[in-house]
Amino acid sequence: MDTRYPGFADPVLDAQASFRAVLEAMSRPGRVQAVVAPPELPPGLSPAAASVLLTLVDAATPLRLAAGTEVEAWVRFHCGCPFVCDGAAFVLDPGATLMELEAGTDEEPERGATLILEVAALEEAGGWRLRGPGIRDEHRLRVTGAPPGFVAEWARNHARFPCSVDVILCAGARIAALPRSLRIEES
């Protein structure tokens, strides 16, 4: 199946701007960043998730995807990545749980997957209490529409450090990241 939806308007500079947003999000967990999105999107994909895929996923990164055929065709054309069920480097699948994904090994923890998680809304006030590298004292992040039991599962995910999974939360054109080093408390 072909796609009629475009990628970044400016593939080089839009990818750079989006990467800096992801880098900022990953180095200051809980700080919400806006990304540059493609002008038009296949149904079933948020602008933020589209931007993260275009910025980081390519032929070298197996992707586990469950977002419908339109999205699959779009990703296949623009990212050219292999689609897999197990051992994915990037995951965009609402059915995926942290503990079942590739977590890397003690010697090569960087092989742990990155989960792209679509949520309803992100807000820098109230909600979770975040602590860890990248945070001076404490950051607050209110995530609307996170999977039920996410915080408890995150605690198990964090306990495996340095092996683990990193998460990029996407809501509309905004992202926040949860690196594996992060501790989350529900308030």
Binding site: V12, Q16, L23, V36, T105, P179
Partner: protein, 308 residues
């Protein structure tokens, strides 16, 4: 584009060569992709940087590319800088604290040509600072990224030559060997005789080489507001220290870590706080001590001149 919007826009004007201030954005040489590297290389390096940030202090392998300068001249740092740099960034490059040495001047000229970015010699104006072997004296801020050029990323390599073995030691957080080395220093010299490349623990988990910065600079890494990225081109490793992350220099309770500095004042600006270089002035043994950080020194001299 919050991240870009938060940054100061490149200052206009001030293009005169040799001036301390920012040189405005140049047109980028369209014979090259923006910032020299191709997009798939940038994606690969960007993924390595993100994993490095998520696992503070862990060395992430990456496919280091041939760069148009030899290994040992900052190929790792340049690849990291090229992968993060955008048109609205202002780049500063220092070599042992100085903005005006060959390496720093050539790398600035390289990025002006291939990325058309504005460059500066002023620490306060820069959004990205690439450094060889120093941390600027001025406290860095949240809007800045410090990129280190790293010759040897493995802190244990003089103690254990086998890479497979050092990987295992990092996996097990087994750093006894380094403590024994520091202990032997004390037994032999009465103090820890490591004055640069002094090993640090990052967030209490990974032993990390701070690159050959003087031990004097180690305390600046601890809970620094700026993001710190490290690139080793020949050894093909990238690692990172996120902002506000605990970076502790290894020591013993009875032999605490002490940053060392020459006990003099700078001959040019009079600073008693900054890290000093010894400069030989004649062939009769004459010498002076001056700040290694040229921007810090120039700024202090200007303030002093203005006050008089």
């Amino acid at each position: 584009m919050t991240s870009a919007a938060a940054k100061p826009s490149p200052p206009s004007g001030g293009r005169g060569l040799g001036e301390g201030g920012a040189q405005g954005a140049y047109a980028h040489d369209t014979g090259y992709n923006f910032a020299y590297l191709d997009e798939s290389t940038k994606r690969m390096i960007r993924r390595a940087i993100l994993k490095g940030v998520a696992i503070p202090g862990h060395q992430v392998p990456f496919g280091s590319r041939e760069m148009p300068l030899p290994y040992g001249w900052g190929t790792g740092g340049i690849q990291v800088t090229a992968s993060i740099l955008g048109p609205s960034d202002v780049l500063k490059v220092i070599d042992q604290g100085a903005d005006d040495t060959t390496n720093a001047v050539s790398i600035r000229a390289f990025f002006r040509r291939v990325a058309g970015v504005a460059t500066t010699e002023r620490t306060a104006e820069a959004t990205v600072i690439q450094t060889r072997h120093r941390i600027p004296e001025r406290q860095l801020t949240e809007g800045q990224i410090l990129v280190y050029q790293v010759p040897m990323p493995e802190p244990l390599f003089r103690l254990e030559a086998r890479v497979a073995e050092t990987k295992r030691m990092h996996a097990l957080a087994d750093y006894g060997l380094m403590h024994v080395k520091l202990y032997e220093d004390i037994a032999r010299h009465g103090h820890i005789a490591t004055s640069y490349n002094y090993p640090v623990m990052v967030d209490g988990r990974y032993l990390m080489s701070p690159s050959p910065i003087p031990a004097f600079d180690n305390p600046k890494m601890d809970r620094m507001p700026a993001l710190q990225l490290f690139g080793a081109g020949r050894e093909k490793r990238i690692y990172a220290v996120p902002p506000y992350t605990a970076v502790r220099s290894l020591d013993f309770e009875d032999h605490p870590f002490r940053p060392i500095r020459a006990p003099h004042a700078c001959a040019l600006c009079g600073s008693r706080e900054s890290y000093l270089d010894e400069v030989i002035t004649d062939d009769r043994g004459g010498k002076i001590f001056v700040c290694s950080d040229t921007d810090y020194c120039t700024e202090r001299q200007a303030t002093k001149a203005a006050a008089e």
